[in-house]
Subunit: 358 residues, 2 copies
């Protein structure tokens, strides 16, 4: 499906004057609502918004501002993804002589109303939202003002209604697991992400498919959901490494979780990659700096953000864009993977080693 | 010394009309130059800029824009410091209902002209510049438009002419070294930053002072300049660890360099902290996630950026601000430091271990 900002424009379009008349307010009040001004009473604002929505109003006049802006909104700026995504938007903005406005706002599911209000006043060229799905309310407000918006969605849970850019999570899980199998591992554990994120499930399914294709049975004790943080990786790996028969390889589901796996191995005196292979996911800069450097699945975050920002420009130019773009992931082999240690089915008994704190 | 935006205002102030008359152009042309518009011929622009500068022109009318912006400009967005600094500015911007505009521009010494032009059009509340010193040109342009600006300068090389925020590098170097001495180390190496950055020299001097106070002689072979990157830490640590009498502790000068030291130790089979203690500097998030978690000097980057953004607000309100603010650093003890291994002067011979690639 292709979307264009002009889909619903054309004959029969309602004018500001008509909205004003139907709402029983002045044109300037309607204009204030469109521009996010605060000096409109809440009931009036609601009445006007409903009419704009009911008539699928689309602003046609483009902002004449001389200093164009692209906005990027995060729920969680702490995210290790944030800097790469900012870089991608910044690259495209620079090419269009635009500034980048960065906001942390709202919940995991929607930017907050304070952002919406300020953004409407700034009238940016467009908005890149790092959220999975968006409430209808938010979509309607953006559409009524003809502000193009695109979702960057590394979590892999796209809103079918909005142009979005993600990456191929299932294929990434498959590639990571195949690499371990090709190294000779058979007893392979996975710490995937949170159970309620589609990307976790897609990576896990990729893992299962690779195992099934190789005819290897998956031990349910070696399949755990994590939290995409270092602590979750540490904790889940500790559980697997303390099993009577521990895995010889762990697919860690994210680079942060992989760092937790490395630490859980280190405090047990388990050498990576000699005794245990570890694969991360994301390929954020720390993956390269870990000891040993992580073999990981490269998620092209910067490129995803660039694509999203370029989609904004195409939407502004009323060119058609895809509703969903999934960029390919690729395996980056570094130093945290190797053939399994010798022993029955690649296993040798756990070293007892009291050293190292926890 | 205290600076205020209004220092040079008052009686005898030149007006736009006077500048226009002296330049032989219209008032609207002068106004275009002030607003960074491109439709002014270069020679005219230069003439007007010179007159504005010669008369120390200060714009008095504040921008009436409804969507206020604070700008932060980096030379190098890749920097591991960037995200923490952005967070600090974002916190203050949020409190003032302002958006944050993020730009990567220019060289290590100055933002580029394309940023200056776009910024003048955006007319932000103020600008946080992550640079050490600024060319006079840049300072004059910002002052003529009454746009407050503050330097955040983790490199510790403040421009005496501009309000700036840094942190206490000498004290940080002292604290890191004292901690190692208190653990019992005497053969301590340092990999400080690049030779041309004041912060590298300040940290090194703090190291030397701590050693001198403890009556320990510094071995020149154990004092190396680095590059503040992982590779530099790896390379310098490799040189020290391959000495006939290797150090029992290394103060790594930055967290990234410390990661390089950890890797150089790992590939030699040297255990951290049992065989080698390592101290970082910065306390960026990866310090906590390293294996083992890094003992490091906390540089309050977020707080530095918050202070800088708050100084902008005080400058706007024509309140006096300090020209230089240095925030305290503090040592964070984690798991990469311990007493030295037993042996003559805390030294035991290098383990021969062929394992681990490089």
């Amino acid at each position: 499906m292709l979307l264009s900002m002009s889909d619903e424009e054309g004959i029969g379009r309602i004018t500001l004057a008509q909205v004003a008349e139907q709402a029983g307010v002045s044109i300037s009040t309607v204009s204030k609502v469109l521009n996010g001004r605060q000096d409109v009473a809440a009931p009036t604002r609601v009445r006007v918004e409903r009419l704009l929505d009911a008539h699928a109003y689309r602003r046609t006049t483009r902002s004449a501002r001389e200093a164009p802006l692209i906005e990027i909104v995060f729920h969680e700026l702490e995210s290790i993804w944030a800097m790469e995504l900012i870089r991608g938007v910044e690259n495209v903005a620079k090419a269009h002589d635009a500034g980048v406005v960065l906001t942390e706002s709202g919940t995991r599911h929607a930017p907050g109303p304070e952002w919406m209000e300020a953004m409407l006043q700034r009238r940016p060229l467009g908005v890149v939202l790092v959220f999975s799905a968006l409430p209808d309310e938010v979509k309607k407000q953006l559409r009524a003002r003809s502000i193009p918006f695109v979702i960057v969605d590394p979590a892999g849970d796209p809103d079918p209604d909005v142009p979005s850019v993600g990456s191929a999570n299932w294929s990434g899980g498959l590639a990571a697991t195949r690499h371990l199998i090709e190294c000779g591992h058979r007893r392979i554990g996975i710490v995937t992400g949170p159970e309620d994120m589609l990307c976790s499930l897609a990576r896990l399914d990729g893992f299962r498919s690779a195992m099934a294709m190789a005819g290897i049975e998956v031990d349910p004790e070696l399949v755990l959901f994590g939290d995409f943080h270092v602590e979750g990786g540490y904790d889940r790996a500790a559980r697997m490494l303390d099993l009577p028969e521990r895995p010889t390889a762990i697919f860690a589901g994210s680079d942060l979780q992989a760092l937790g796996v490395l630490e859980a191995a280190r405090v047990r005196g388990i050498q990576v990659p000699d005794d245990l292979s570890v694969v991360g996911y994301d390929d954020v800069p720390i993956a390269r700096w870990a000891s040993p450097a992580l073999t990981t699945v490269h998620q092209p975050l910067r490129q995803m953000a660039e694509e999203a920002a370029q989609m904004l420009m195409r939407l502004r130019a009323q060119e058609p864009v895809s509703t969903r773009l999934e960029l390919a992931t690729s395996l980056v082999v570094r130093k945290s993977t190797a053939p399994p240690p010798p022993g029955p089915s690649g296993h040798r008994p756990r070293k007892e080693n009291g050293a190292g704190g926890s």
